[in-house]
Symmetry: C2
Subunit: 297 residues, 2 copies
Amino acid sequence: MAISPFDAALAEHASDIERMLDRLLPHPEGPEGRIAEAMRYAALEGGKRFRPFLVVQSARLFGVNAESALRAAVAAECVHVYSLIHDDLPCMDDDDLRHGRPTVHKAFDEATAMLAGDALLTLAFEIVADPDTHERARVRIELVRRLAAAAGAHGMVGGQMIDLASERKPLDIGGITRLQLLKTGALISFSCEAGAVLGRASAEAEQALHAYAHDLGLAYQIADDLLDAEGDSGLMGKRAGKDAAAGKATFVSILGTDRARAQARMLAEQAVQHLDLFDERADLLRQAAHFVITRRN
Amino acid sequence: MAISPFDAALAEHASDIERMLDRLLPHPEGPEGRIAEAMRYAALEGGKRFRPFLVVQSARLFGVNAESALRAAVAAECVHVYSLIHDDLPCMDDDDLRHGRPTVHKAFDEATAMLAGDALLTLAFEIVADPDTHERARVRIELVRRLAAAAGAHGMVGGQMIDLASERKPLDIGGITRLQLLKTGALISFSCEAGAVLGRASAEAEQALHAYAHDLGLAYQIADDLLDAEGDSGLMGKRAGKDAAAGKATFVSILGTDRARAQARMLAEQAVQHLDLFDERADLLRQAAHFVITRRN
């Protein structure tokens, strides 16, 4: 399959992100070196780096300098990677494979995996708080505030809690939408808004990015459910069909494949419309909406 | 046993802290309510609230207002409670009892316990970043930076990693000192310095508090090892003798009881001396140094 211009752009962003991750992650040293090893193992290989891509592209709209954007992008990725490590643990999803490699608790052990997740979450805040991320304290503290809100009990962790509870009591379509808005949507929203915060954008521009993120995040998740239902574990680099196996309701189990696909397409188009006030600098964000519903892994 | 004036002061601080915790912790609501329940279960009962006490008393030296001090104090306590929840999990210390009650994973389940810890760590940053904690963004971001450094791979989590590794390879006295400076010392130092940051203290005053915290933290830990070696599980509200059972070297196993006790006393006296530049407003901090080496649980 030929690589699309968008895939090429995403791959280019991914290498920038990985270079910055490599710079900002701790290096294994001393008797606690194993924690840095596990953080690097989890963070440095694989992944589309989609959230950091959103940070960098939203920052680009407002002429934010590359260093600031990449640092905020890496913070978002650290939170994402932490959530995957904890999600993969035996007490949660109990997954052995992630990005085609053994999960952190398989490659190391459970305690190290949990601590590596803890340390990555903490590192995200340390990175954002550092003066190198932005010269103005007011901007940095606003990023901290939003990142904490996106990650915490009313954001990602809350979504994971609902997800766990849904194994006992299947959700309806409203429940699934809310679950996903918290579990994956909150960090995607943070990623899209981070550029606006860094660039001190107008309330209107920020609101547009917020609306874009909302629809993009839901489209992304519906596409994820479609991949999970139809997917190929080898291609995905993780276990497919696990939601069905856990008896969880998903967008696909409730809407059916065709309606789910139509819904994702509708959301992606809506996401693009929210970007109407931006010029061609938003073109990659526009393409990203198409990407999330057509990706194969 | 009669209650000392210091114990009375500590108890009074503890109720202030608990009121603020109650205000700042999320309330159980919606399908994710279980996460708030677990956070409240872990954070709202028991504990000496020693770290928040240090925040409030260090803040008092510089005339910081009560609301600011209590909010930073609660943030430190959230990080402490998160570390206990994760530490108690089966993949770490596997403890069933904490403050005389079932640990979070016993009262709820492992997944909920891990998520509650994650959410408490995140909440700490959300609290500090909130404008209610201090009017100046510069002060808040400095607290975030220090809290993240104290909690992360080069602080508390690093210490926990060394602690785990020490089961396989017993540490010498230098190794144990470094382990404890990271595992418990970093957050105690944050707590003592937070007041200086909030009160925009002189570098000299801040340095004095840093030195005080260093010695206080070590004295606290040696006393902890003594209690663990000699302690009564009922009185401590947690399992005693567990370091010895795990084959871990401690200050006591290496120095012996008498030398460990003398060392703790020496460190406590040294801690008090570092406070010489402060007036009688530092008296409770002075008494705290005595408290840490004479406490019974």
